[in-house]
Point group: C2
Chain length 320, copies 2
């Protein structure tokens, strides 16, 4: 069974004196917003600073002055961004960032990044970059090019793990696994004990969790099936410092680190990334919206020959 875990991501910052996304927008709006890309709200948690929606395809976080949405599968997230722009108005929007990583099954996607930013370009003047090699894991980032300047303290991190170990894949595809067992397996108590958690176990497998504490957030999405396993972890907590713990649990054959405004990325990765991984890509760029973006892809060198993967000719060949 194949599932496209790779996410599209949008961050929208609004002019805070004109609107509070947390107080002034109803859940009905967010329901319609996520429906534009064929996602649904499963549940939500909130505090005074943040509301976190768990979606049928990933997550939506809403703060007073901004939102962050990640959607996986075959969703076309740019349609939700278009809906937001049309209903809220560009005059209330300070900054739009639209991001998309390369997919496992890009040929099965309803659109390419190029298609998406062509649509966005009708509303937003911006710039676009590719972080990472075309023939390897990479992230496309489009951002509005206007007077908006990000706060240097506005940091976010992504840790994206590919081809997790057989042990982790088998554990996470166990029939009947509970959310509590997955929390334990991922050791969420260790670093996020004082966060409010909201999680969901998908049928037959797959797991999503949102966690918030004040303005801090964490979201993890697990696509555990052996052939296309993928675990994404995103947070405004420094994930580089705790990457080794996640890598020990998941033992991926490859992973990406992506950070916004971590000016110490090179030193931190040098200090905290286990030495059995080697860097395949290292990219950094100062964007004109004042985000300093770093991207690294790491791989685990192989010593042993594996058998080829037998393809099921009667099965889901659309994924091939």
């Amino acid at each position: 069974m194949f599932f496209e875990g790779s996410e599209k991501k949008a961050q929208i910052v609004v002019k805070d004196k004109k609107i509070s996304l947390l107080d002034d927008i109803t859940d009905d709006f967010w329901t319609a917003f996520v429906q534009c890309c064929n996602a649904q709200i499963l549940s939500s948690i909130r505090n005074d600073d943040c509301k976190a929606f768990l979606l049928s395809e990933s997550s939506l976080f809403v703060w007073h002055d901004r939102l962050l949405i990640l959607t996986c599968g075959n969703t076309r997230l740019v349609h939700s961004v278009e809906f937001f722009i049309q209903h809220i108005g560009m005059d209330k929007i300070k900054q739009v960032i639209y991001q998309r990583k390369n997919e496992y099954f890009s040929h099965a996607q309803p659109s390419s990044f190029g298609d998406d930013i062509k649509l966005l370009g009708q509303y937003v003047m911006g710039k676009a970059y590719r972080f990472g090699e075309l023939d390897s894991h990479h992230n496309y980032i489009f951002h509005q090019d206007n007077s908006f300047q990000a706060d240097k303290l506005d940091k976010t991190y992504e840790l994206l793990a590919y081809q997790i170990s057989d042990r982790a894949s088998e554990k996470l595809t166990t029939v009947g696994l509970t959310a509590q067992e997955i929390r334990q397996f991922l050791q969420l108590d260790k670093f996020f004990a004082d966060f409010t958690l909201d999680d969901f176990v998908f049928d037959p497998f797959g797991y999503s969790v949102n966690a918030i504490k004040g303005k801090e957030y964490l979201t993890i999405h697990v696509t555990p099936q052996a052939n296309s396993s993928y675990v994404s972890i995103e947070s405004n907590i420094n994930l580089i410092k705790i990457a080794a713990d996640f890598l020990a649990i998941l033992a991926p054959k490859s992973f990406d680190l992506l950070s916004f405004n971590d000016f110490d990325f090179a030193n931190l990765t040098d200090e905290f990334i286990p030495k059995n991984y080697v860097s395949k890509s290292l990219v950094s760029e100062h964007l004109s919206n004042n985000y300093f973006v770093c991207f690294a892809n790491y791989i685990l060198p192989q010593k042993k020959f594996m058998q080829a993967t037998v393809l099921d000719l009667a099965g889901e060949n659309h994924a091939l």
Copy 2:
């Protein structure tokens, strides 16, 4: 400018007492055969054992008992295979092998490997495998599953180089570069001095060469543009032993080695692949048609941060 260099490949072996592909088939047939996937014959060379056609999209080699065709770009090679089967008849065919590597721009392809083997499955009972990780360079191989058993001495090699050095890319995209200059750059005289060569320089750039000597063949296809550079080298001469020479010229960030029936693959790669490359994937499999297939992907670890690639929003975004 983007171009999909990655090839699809088909090898068809015929029952040699029933037909000689070299003597019994006209060029008109081969013209129609390659047109089925929107390729055209540019030129050809031949000797008593082999005829080599240079195509607008890669190459076709015809021996008495078999053919090998490689096509790149957005060709749908499986349509040529279907044409061959319909016109020659499965009763004269011993073995069909259809192979496809992952593309840079798979979303821009007219079909997926799954689509292709679904079509082939109407004519040929077979098995299919993936060599290499789904999230990295990989090769799909479909082969007919019948009584055919390959000769152990029937060896072929592929060396596929990605992201060649800036120096090599700049040289090979030089305006007005001649075929002779490219032959020199690739040092074809060094290893293939006694081969008959037929080559073509594409406009504005891109290079193909076929070379034959008796039953031996070599074909090289160069897509040199910096953003999607790709050089494929295929031969029944042992490419592992001379890989270091090509790697020194091209200095790719990543490359694949694929061999059919080289039983010493592990030792040879250990001996001949420069130690600055590390293996990301190692796969081997004995197919039921008696081919022993080995696949390895190597990468060059990166130490320095590069800048992100700026995308031209007014340009050819279909490739993004």
